[in-house]
Symmetry: C2
Subunit: 424 residues, 2 copies
């Protein structure tokens, strides 16, 4: 058995799985505790997920929204970062088996998040990429910009239009952001650059099975978001459950729409590691934790972030960054208190800072306490919040610069296509 951390052997070992918002917050909350922290992630970077759609739609380059985990924790001497994948969690033996080595723990924080789910239609994954990782973003970028290239080469008008039809499935915040960005690309970024295809003929469809866009917002803001989307040129199709997707089209509401570019923003499923913890799961596969975020029967194991099913003040917590961060900080502090022999903090309570969704240029909706904003004002709030929370001085500066230039020029500097689809 490989004992990985090299810090004093007498101190309790805290293993944190996942370097997202929750895992990083937990590690940082333990910075001054007499523990050995091991943070494991299969990727080497923390991702600022709220801006991932901008990498997918070529407004930002990947390094602008990603920071190496070990760089983020470089000053925290009690923490070690391992890039590895979890093979198995054994809560009875207090062990985590990685692909290269095994970790024993005294405290475990599971923060491995969620991924997109196709509700039993896994064959749709190939035709309708979702957006969770940088590699997903590159795939979407490649599909979108290659579609316009193919349109330019196509002689047959119907075929050409099929390459300029884009379907976004799911009208939550990610779907709304993607659809808005696609409409802007078609209308403002590309028109002057094509000679045969006319990108203004692009048809961006936002398909939603439910009755309205942004279902987690109040109906009043959903209606405003829909109006803003339509003003940008997005065709909003609510009450349209998707029944089939392949590389040549999508079927919804009994109608087939020819398109080669479907983006999936309809559903998430919790990380499969949750199922190894032996606790009850909710319908989305999330682990039902106690009020202190610990696993029933295992006060030394915590589940946080998108993988946790938590009620706070009678509401289910949303799967957003602020919730994950708050859970991480809470759990870190709780472990620190217990290790120090102090009274543990009271049960976890979510501080709702509000909800924000951006739609496009100067278009957004925001619900902050009693305030319901839309349009330009909401967009400024969104901009400020996202710049503020972006990691690191350089990133903020570069993102601001990119946005400022894009604002005045309508350009998207990251419009490069790399990698390959296996199917061409």
């Amino acid at each position: 058995m490989t004992e990985l951390p090299s810090t004093p052997a007498a101190q309790p070992r805290v293993v944190i799985l996942g370097g997202g918002f929750g895992g990083i917050a937990a590690a940082q909350a333990l910075a001054h505790a007499p523990v050995r922290v091991t943070l494991v992630d299969r990727r080497n970077h923390h991702l600022f997920q709220p801006l991932l759609y901008q990498v997918a739609t070529a407004s930002l380059s990947a390094p602008s929204i990603a920071a190496p985990l070990r760089h983020m924790l470089r000053g925290q001497r009690n923490a070690i970062v391992l890039m590895d994948e979890v093979a198995r969690i054994d809560v009875a033996r207090r062990e985590v088996e990685l692909q290269r080595g095994t970790l024993r723990y005294d405290w475990l924080v599971v923060a491995t998040g969620a991924t997109h789910a196709y509700f039993g239609h896994d064959d749709w994954a190939e035709s309708a990429p979702g957006l969770k990782t940088l590699d997903d973003a590159f795939t979407i970028r490649r599909r979108v910009f290659t579609a316009f290239e193919r349109a330019e080469q196509e002689d047959d008008p119907a075929q050409r239009q099929a390459w300029m039809n884009f379907a976004v499935v799911g009208a939550g915040p990610t779907g709304v952001e993607l659809a808005g960005a696609l409409a802007e690309i078609a209308r403002h970024t590309l028109p002057r650059e094509f000679r045969r295809a006319d990108p203004r003929q692009t048809n961006v469809m936002l398909l939603e099975a439910g009755p309205r866009v942004l279902p987690s917002f109040v109906p009043e803001l959903s209606a405003k978001a829909q109006r803003q989307l339509e003003k940008l040129g997005v065709q909003v199709l609510t009450g349209q459950a998707v029944t089939a997707i392949d590389r040549d089209g999508i079927e919804a509401g009994g109608k087939r729409i020819p398109t080669h570019t479907v983006l999936w923003a309809a559903g998430v499923a919790a990380s499969p590691l949750g199922a190894q913890l032996g606790a009850p799961l909710d319908r989305a596969g999330r682990v039902q934790v106690q009020a202190d975020l610990s696993l029933p029967g295992h006060p030394e194991v915590f589940v946080i972030g998108d993988l946790a099913s938590v009620q706070s003040d009678g509401h289910a917590l949303p799967g957003v960054a602020p919730a994950a961060k708050q859970m991480g900080r809470y759990v870190g502090r709780r472990i620190a208190a217990r290790v120090a022999g102090k009274a543990a903090p009271a049960d976890f309570r979510y501080q709702d800072a509000g909800a924000l969704a951006t739609i496009g240029r100067m278009a957004a909706v925001a619900h902050l306490g009693r305030w319901k904003l839309s349009g330009i004002l909401a967009w400024w709030v969104w901009l400020g919040a996202h710049i503020f929370f972006l990691i690191g001085f350089r990133n903020r500066l570069v993102v601001l610069l990119d946005w400022a230039l894009a604002y005045f020029t309508y350009q998207r500097h990251a419009r490069i296509v790399t990698g390959k689809d296996d199917d061409g």
Copy 2:
């Protein structure tokens, strides 16, 4: 047969294959000629190749050195850009067969460049990636930063050192740049971030079969470059022909060195399309063209850039960006003159602007006419030249900002690992 360009049918058709420095220069030189230009590239972007090593070594993000071809030519109304791959060139029938369609031409410019070559050891490609495309740069970035991650996880000291041994094969400008950057990463960027591995123990080896580094420079500057490399911590091994490479080591000069990270900068071979033109090739597979860069017996076909074997003033032209640009401009002007019925310009003559190679922080060599520079002064010349020639206002600004921040912080912001090696 698909006739792709949609501009007036009476005008002569110029087909340009390849959107590198040569192809773009040729297209731009035809901006005001009464011709229909079709530029074909299998990628959607022009790449500023001289800075590609900085993407590989995480100093720059990919979009900073790449620009969409159709964006570059958006204002040139007589030009159309196609993203497609060339399947076959038929100079007798004046046709270029693409994967999707066929192009007829009146004038053809072949500017498909070169790729790395393993001198008959194609099995080395998997273990020793070269650096020609953005995808190559991502592969090198992934291998380099994953190697340090694996070192951090390794218990056995010998195994750990193997992960911190890096071999760069070939000491031309690219090999020198890569080796210098690796040494800086090991010494300055990473040390504080690891707990078990000590990146300062990294061993960067630069292997060269010939007697000195930078063989295309004068011996005096080669010696200075070698001293600067050694000061950075690079182990320079000249006169060491590589005899074997696999995923666990490299064999050179009869000795085996354990390493999992070998980078290939040793050789290039011309694009295989050259062989379809029916003209004699040189040893590197380059097409031996006439003094006006045309194909013998085919005054309507030109070969330029790294694919062309050209003598100017009794010297063979180097495979560098300025040479490709000058050839592209020359050929564009020549076609324009012939189409206008004017006298064709005199034979092509290369204007040698000098040679530059960078080694690392404040370290470079430059040979400009009578001036031989090294160290800080050469580095400033290199910096100025590369900033000046970078495409587009945004890129210059962002690159400058990245470099300034990196200079003061020693950080490399693009240290994110994406994608996957198939072999794990």
